[in-house]
Symmetry: C2
C-alpha cells in the first residue's frame, strides 16, 4: 500500500476525526454516524465517508462507525500507534517553549534531543526555566546524535536566516521529517517530509478575512 493519491487535506481531517473520536469515547459513546462526526468537525458527511474510503471500509451501513474501532484504524493509518522521536533545533524563545511545554505534544511524540549553536549560553537559561538540567547539543553533533537516538522528525525553531543551513545539515543526517517553524521555505532534496507551520501566516489569513469577508 502506498496511499500516494490521498489528499493531504484528508490526512489533516483524519487527525481531527481521531481527536473527536477520543472525546466521544471518553463520554462512553459507542457508535457515531458520518453525519454527526462531520458536523462536529465542521465538514460535509460525504467528505468523512470519502476520506475513510481511501483506506478501507470501516463502517456498517444503516448503523454508523464503531468509535473505538474507527479510532484505532485511523491511528494506524496515521502512524500514531508508534512513538516518534523529535529533535528541536534552535533553543531561542520558541524552541525553549516547545521544550518547556512538553504537553504541547501528544504522548506518541517524544523529544529526544535539543540543539543550539550556543549550547553553553542556552543551557543555564533553559535549565532554570524548566527547573531541571537540560542537555543542549551543538548542531555539529546532529548526524551522530540523529543516528544514536533515532530521531525521526526535526523541528526547526531557529531564526529564519539559519533555517536553510539547518536544513542542509538535516539533509546529511538520517532524519527524514521536518516541521519548519520559521517563515522561510527551505529547499530539500527529494525524499523528505517537510511541513511548514508558521503562525503569523495564519494570523495574516484571519486578518485578511476580517478585512474583506466579514460583514
Amino acid at each position: 500500500m502506498k496511499f500516494s493519491k490521498v489528499p493531504e487535506a484528508t490526512i489533516r481531517r483524519l487527525s481531527a476525526y481521531v481527536r473527536h473520536l477520543e472525546v466521544l469515547e471518553e463520554k462512553g459513546e459507542v457508535v457515531v454516524s458520518s453525519a454527526s462526526l462531520a458536523e462536529s468537525c465542521g465538514v460535509n458527511a460525504a467528505q468523512v465517508r470519502k476520506d475513510l474510503a481511501y483506506f478501507g471500509e470501516f463502517g456498517i451501513r444503516g448503523v454508523g462507525y464503531y468509535i473505538k474501532d474507527l479510532s484505532d484504524n485511523i491511528k494506524t493509518i496515521l502512524g500514531l500507534n508508534r512513538e516518534w522521536h523529535l529533535a528541536i533545533i534552535g533553543i531561542g524563545n520558541l524552541g525553549s517553549s516547545l521544550l518547556f511545554y512538553k504537553d504541547f505534544f501528544k504522548k506518541n511524540y517524544k523529544i529526544v534531543a535539543a540543539f543550539d549553536v550556543d549550547p553553553a549560553g542556552v543551557v543555564g537559561r533553559v535549565s532554570e526555566k524548566i527547573g531541571k538540567p537540560v542537555e543542549i547539543l551543538h548542531p555539529e553533533q546532529l548526524q551522530e546524535v540523529a543516528r544514536d537516538r533515532r530521531i525521526d522528525i526535526a523541528i526547526i525553531a531557529t531564526p529564519a536566516s539559519e533555517a536553510q543551513k539547518v536544513a542542509d545539515q538535516i539533509a546529511q543526517s538520517s532524519i527524514r521529517g521536518i516541521l519548519n517553524f520559521t517563515p522561510t521555505q527551505i529547499q530539500m532534496p527529494k525524499g523528505f517530509a517537510v511541513k511548514n507551520y508558521f503562525f503569523t501566516t495564519i494570523l495574516d489569513n484571519v486578518a485578511y478575512l476580517l478585512r474583506w469577508r466579514v460583514k
Copy 2:
C-alpha cells in the same frame, strides 16, 4: 471590492511572498521575476502570477515586479498596513508563551489583553516569568474590554474542553476574528473569521508522510 472568490491558499501564499520580498528588499534587490519568487516560495511561476492577478496588475512585462511596490501592494491586500489588536484567552502553558514571546508576532499585531478564569493564580506566575507585572482579566470582562480596547482577534489558548464556552462569549462580543489553538472545531454563527492552528495536526501530517510517502 470583495475578493470573495479568492482561494484561501492564495492568501496563504501571499503571506509567503511578502515575507520573501522583505528579505530581497533587505538585500537591496529591486526587481524580481515570478519565476524567481516562485522558486523561493516553493510554488509554480504561473501560480504566483495567478495569485496576484486576483487583485490587479502589479508587474511589467518583460521586466518583472518592482519589489518595494509589490510588497506594499500585497501588504495592503492582506491588511498588514494597519495594526490589529489581539487578545489571548487562556493563560496556561501555551497562552503565557504567546504573551511572553511577543516577538512571535510581527509588529502590526499587538496584544492588548489577556484573559484567564483564574486571574489571581496566573498573574504571579506569569509576571515572574516575564519579569514585569501583567494584567490578567477574567473572561467575564471580555465584552466590555473587547469594546474598550478594540480587540480584533481573539486567540483561544484554553484547554480544549473550554474552547466552545470561550467561543460563545466571543460571539457575544465585538470581536470578529478567532485564531483557535485548541484541537477542537468551534461552532460559530455566520460572520466570523475563524482559523484553527493546531500544532500536532501538522506533526501528525509529517508522521503520516514519513510512514507512507518517504522512501
